[in-house]
């Protein structure tokens, strides 16, 4: 046979989990850096601080830039409009009174110029100064009606001015300007402030990085230590929590929850593998011993044949356990949802009752049945059949002779319940949650044939249908109830939840017959 159709070994799961944890631990603890220079950048806290600094810096520069641009822009526009107004009114003077009037106006303006910021110069066509507070025509101003921003020599002091030239009809030229040394000073102040801010920001960024790094490290070191310990195989370690409720605390809690769940799963796997080991080892051992003994001791061919046949029977039992286990994991994986469709449980129940009735009859057990004419569910007919059959099988097996086994279905607005009730030994209250675990055998059932997988399979099937298996006390005996929702919600993907059994002490609906 070339077909590897065996279930995942627990060791595979364990090593898989280990590998995963190791990766997590390595990722968190930043393990084994190949190059120290890269390791610095690989530190999440440094990266975080750098990113923080970068964002902070860029926004500061943008802010300062926009302040500078708008402030200087307003000042420059104000200067231009002052020059334009001056020009307009001086030209007006010229038009109303010619050159003498213009010279008079210029004289007044120069005289009234309080802070010496206004610049006027009237020159004749040859470039000789007629009137003005500037010594000579600046070389840079060559064209009329354009704003120039140029350095000038303002009699004795050097400065920068914004200026505009106006050509007069008689060939004279008028220059109007404003000293903008103050604006330049403001520009320098703003630039310096920006550099200072940048410097302070870098300094604060470095300090922030160091602080963040230490906070990160303090919070992550414990997580790293814990995950490392777990990767080494010590599943009992948990991350220490500071109970502050901050992100790190929440992460620690999440990690602890995850570890708890992994530990539970591992326990489950271990339990199941122990159970498998026991439940499969026993019949295999028996078969092996029987064959070995027969090989050396059988006195006749008949004796040998009998031994071989019994050993074969024991191996068949092993196969049966195997198949039931595979079936359960197949169902738990949710692989069979593809076969879901509308199923009327009425004929299913009728057929099953008819199927088991002769069996019950051999033990003098009366099969009492009742269900509505239509019991519609969405599900897998084969699996629902098997689930109910398993319960009936159990009930008939454990019910005392000449008692009654009840098979019933009932529905309300939300759920459909299928009841199978017997008056047998039942399952003690304390064991009910465990009863759907694989290989659970009630005390009373130790010596009856069975795989110990029946209820686990029923619970798995109920879960697949978004329902559950409830085990109630039938006083005396067991009432197993498959509770199925009438309306299935979205059913996609495999079932992630572990199989759970709700061992409600009593049914919410009154059981039939009680």
């Amino acid at each position: 046979m070339a077909e590897p159709a065996y279930p995942i070994r627990p060791a595979d799961i364990e090593s898989g989990i280990d590998a995963g944890l190791q990766r997590v631990a390595a990722a968190i603890a930043n393990e084994a850096p190949q190059k120290p220079r890269r390791a610095f950048l690989r530190s999440a806290s440094i990266r975080f601080a750098l990113l923080y600094g970068l964002v902070f810096g860029v926004s500061t520069i943008l802010l300062a830039g926009s302040v500078r641009y708008s402030t200087l822009g307003i000042l420059s526009r104000q200067t231009e409009s002052a020059i334009r107004n001056d020009g307009a009114s001086l030209l007006h003077s010229y038009q109303s009174g010619g050159i003498p009037e213009l010279i008079l106006s210029l004289g007044n303006r120069i005289h009234e110029n309080p802070d010496d910021s206004a610049i006027y110069l009237l020159v004749d066509p040859l470039g000789n100064r007629i009137v003005g507070n500037m010594s000579s025509w600046p070389a840079g101003v060559t064209e009329d009606n354009i704003f120039y921003k140029i350095p000038i020599k303002h009699f004795t002091r050097r400065s920068t001015a914004e200026m505009r030239a106006y050509g007069l009809p008689n060939g004279d030229q008028l220059l109007i300007g404003r000293d903008i040394k103050m604006q330049e000073g403001l520009q320098i102040i703003l630039r310096d402030a920006m550099f200072w801010a940048l410097g302070a920001m870098i300094g604060l960024g470095v300090i922030g990085a160091v602080v963040i790094r230490s906070v990160f490290n303090r919070s992550l070191a414990d997580i790293a230590a814990t995950t490392k310990a777990i990767a080494r195989g010590d599943l009992s370690q948990r991350v220490r929590r500071d109970m502050s409720g901050d992100e790190f605390d929440i992460m620690a809690e999440t990690i602890n929850d995850m570890l708890d769940r992994i530990a539970r799963l591992m326990d489950g796997v271990r339990q199941v593998s122990n159970a498998i080991a026991h439940d499969l080892r026993t019949p295999i051992t028996r078969a092996r011993t029987r064959l070995e003994f027969a090989a050396s001791h059988a006195a006749s061919a008949d004796e040998l044949r009998a031994a071989v046949e019994r050993a074969t029977g024991e191996l068949d039992g092993v196969v049966r356990v195997f198949e039931a286990l595979l079936r359960i994991s197949e169902i738990e994986a949710g692989a069979r949802r593809s076969a879901f469709g509308p199923v009327d449980l009425n004929p299913v129940l009728t057929d099953l009752a008819e199927f088991y009735e002769p069996m019950a009859d051999t033990r003098g057990i009366k099969l009492d049945t009742s269900w509505p004419t239509e019991v519609k569910v969405i599900g897998d007919r084969d699996m629902l059949q098997q689930a109910i059959a398993n319960l009936l099988d159990n009930a008939i097996k454990f019910a005392p002779e000449h008692s009654t086994v009840r098979l019933a279905a009932r529905l309300d607005n939300e759920v459909i319940e299928v009841h199978v009730a017997d008056n047998g030994p039942g399952i003690p209250q304390k064991d009910r949650t465990r009863a759907t675990e694989r290989f659970y055998r009630a005390e009373a059932a130790r010596n009856t044939p069975g795989t110990g997988l029946g209820l686990a399979l029923v619970a798995a099937i109920a879960q697949l249908h978004q329902g559950r298996l409830r085990l109630d006390d039938n006083r005396p005996g067991l009432r197993a109830v498959i509770v199925l929702p009438r309306n299935l919600t979205k059913m996609q993907g495999p079932i992630r939840n572990p199989l759970r059994l709700t061992a409600a002490p009593e049914s919410t609906l009154a059981g039939p017959g009680s």
Partner: protein
Amino acid sequence: MRILLVEDDKDVAGFVVKGLREAGHTVEHADNGRDGLFLAASENFDAIILDRMLPGGIDGLRLLETLRAQDNATPVLFLSALTQVDDRVKGLKAGGDDYLTKPFAFAELLARVEALARRGKGEGPSTRLVVGDLEMDLLSRGVKRAGQKIDLQPREFRLLEFLMRHAGQVVTRTMLLEGVWDYHFDPQTNVIDVHVSRLRQKIDKPFPTPLLHTVRNAGYMLRVEEP
């Protein structure tokens, strides 16, 4: 009957070939898909036993699909360690007639192959089944033995019908479960035996010679006892 076995495991193949030959069949064996396909396509067989996973590039499913594409309707029984329901459905969809999972009891394999091979022959629809002095009228749904009317429950009728259709062949409990009840699970108790023994009470008990025989380690067979 002429049976083709395509199975790569030497031990399993050896036992199956030997067992089938002892049961009086002619057996050809191929241990890979390519040879299996060649044999299946070039010769006539009454049934093919086909392993799902085979070496040689052509697995059981491919082999069967190729065969069916050539309008070859030879009944095929899949033999496989793939037990998942989906695998079974896939096998049957590809044109398989029956599916048996490993490990299997040889008696089960033999019974199923013989049932398949005979079904392939197909005697056409009949309205009356006869085994010895037992008669079943499928139209009036009446059963008589030695002229005496026997009252059967509907399910007993179907059980007897199944047995009579397979008269002279071993019918296993699983075959009954699937054929009569359409159940595909393993009831852990001997429910089938109880049903058969009830039927036996009605058709055999009042009469001198039994027709319904238990075949040890295999199942049941309805046949006329050789004198």
